[in-house]
Amino acid sequence: LLVAGAAADDGAALLEVKKSFRNVGNVLYDWSGDDHCSWRGVLCDNVTFAVAALNLSGLNLEGEISPAVGALKSLVSIDLKSNGLTGQIPDEIGDCSSIKTLDLSFNNLDGDIPFSVSKLKHLETLILKNNQLVGAIPSTLSQLPNLKILDLAQNKLSGEIPRLIYWNEVLQYLGLRGNQLEGTLSPDMCQLTGLWYFDVKNNSLTGEIPETIGNCTSFQVLDLSYNHLTGSIPFNIGFLQVATLSLQGNKFTGPIPSVIGLMQALAVLDLSYNQLSGPIPSILGNLSYTEKLYMQGNRLTGTIPPELGNMSTLHYLELNDNQLTGSIPSELGKLTGLYDLNLANNSLEGPIPNNISSCVNLNSFNAHGNKLNGTIPRSLCKLESMTSLNLSSNHLSGPIPIELSRINNLDILDLSCNMITGPIPSAIGSLEHLLKLNLSKNALVGFIPAEFGNLRSIGEIDLSNNHLGGLIPQELGMLQNLMLLKLENNNITGDVSSLMNCFSLNTLNISFNNLAGVVPTDNNFSRFSPDSFLGNPGLCGYWLASCRSSSHQD
């Protein structure tokens, strides 16, 4: 009788919980009558009929979590994730004394994490990520002897990470990314002997990585990225067994310690956007299980070690925005799994090695802003998966190889700011997926190929600052997605009538050519300012004081 009474109370408590939800009409319509154990999302104990689990995730529920939830003394699991719940987490949650799993993630809950949570001695999983929670992380969470998963990511929590939390021997997962946490990393952090996931990305932590970091041997993921951490990367980091080491977006200085090259368990190594200096240790080439290597945005000097060509599982290699010198090692051609190679904004010189064409899975190759010379290798056409090729702002010479037109998937082709000569191969017009073509600031001659009319997806064409002549081909009028066309500073002749049907065009510069005739005003062509047409002595416009001599002739 006592048991039945308690179960009946549970039904009443559930109806109270329902009352403070909104938007329940469609999803909780069966929450009425006596048999609360048959209600949607309610799971009862087989013997006592007390509510053991409440799973109402992803039902678009709004409103608040009622304090009545505290009356459900037998609840083992509450899952309210992915709703639109607002208000605070009720203090009464601390009365659900049997609870093991509490998941309120992906809602709009605000207020503090109630201290009463620390009364839940059976709690194993606490997931409150993606809410609007404020205040400090209660240090009393350290009193939860069974807590294995603590995920408070993507809230507005502030203050320091309570040091006591690190003395939890059963904690396996600590997710604190995307808050406003301050203070330093405690030397105690490696007391977490069971922890495999430590993530404090995107907070405001300061200070250095503690020397004790080498004791964190259970960590598989260590993500300290986007904080304000300083100092050098300690040698002891080499004792970690991590698969992911993310230190990007801090203020780390000094060299990349060679010991990192011994960390064969690394799958992801991200040291990007710090102030690291000195050379790239050649021993990093030993990392034969690493898929992602990010070192961009530092102050790295010296050459690219040819040994990086031994990283046989590498997919991403980003070395851009450093001060690297020397040539691109041909050994990089051994990276047949490479997907993204970014060497932009260094001081690399010498030719682009032919071997790069052996990176058959390369999707994006960016060598912008170096001092590369020689010609563009014809063999690049073997990179059939490539969607983006950027060789701009180098010292490249010779012609545009016609073979580039065989890289069928190319979205972006940028060869601007080089010393490229010869005509534009008409076959470039067969790159039907091309969105952006930039050949500006070279020494190209000849004319604009009529085949450009086949570039049906193209949004931007920049051929400015070359020695191009001839007419603007009529076929350009077929380019209905073209938003930007820059042809300034060439020797282009004829009139502009072919552009009248480019209705998407919003940036046009054809200044300083030899165009003639009248700039039309129909088809909204007057949307372009006179600046677009300057420096064409034979061109008459709709604006004042234009082409006085030719109107005189009329």
């Binding site: 990511a153 598989q220 011994l262 799958a267 299980y289």
Partner: protein, 60 residues
């Protein structure tokens, strides 16, 4: 002495996964992505090692 230093020194290697998949064979180390929450499209997920047998994953 050199051997001892090798044992206690820095460095790591992928898990061997020996007898980590219960009775399931073969048991091999793989990378898995850990989804930490809502991520921005250009961000990568952190990765960890797991032992894999068939479609099942086990802690190394």
């Amino acid at each position: 002495e050199a051997r001892r230093r090798e044992l206690v020194g820095p460095g790591s290697s992928p898990p061997t996964c020996r007898s980590r998949c219960g009775r399931c064979h073969p048991c091999r180390p793989v990378h898995v992505a850990i989804q930490p929450g809502v991520s921005f499209p250009l961000e990568y997920y952190p990765e960890a090692w797991r032992c894999k047998c068939g479609d099942r994953l086990f802690m190394p």
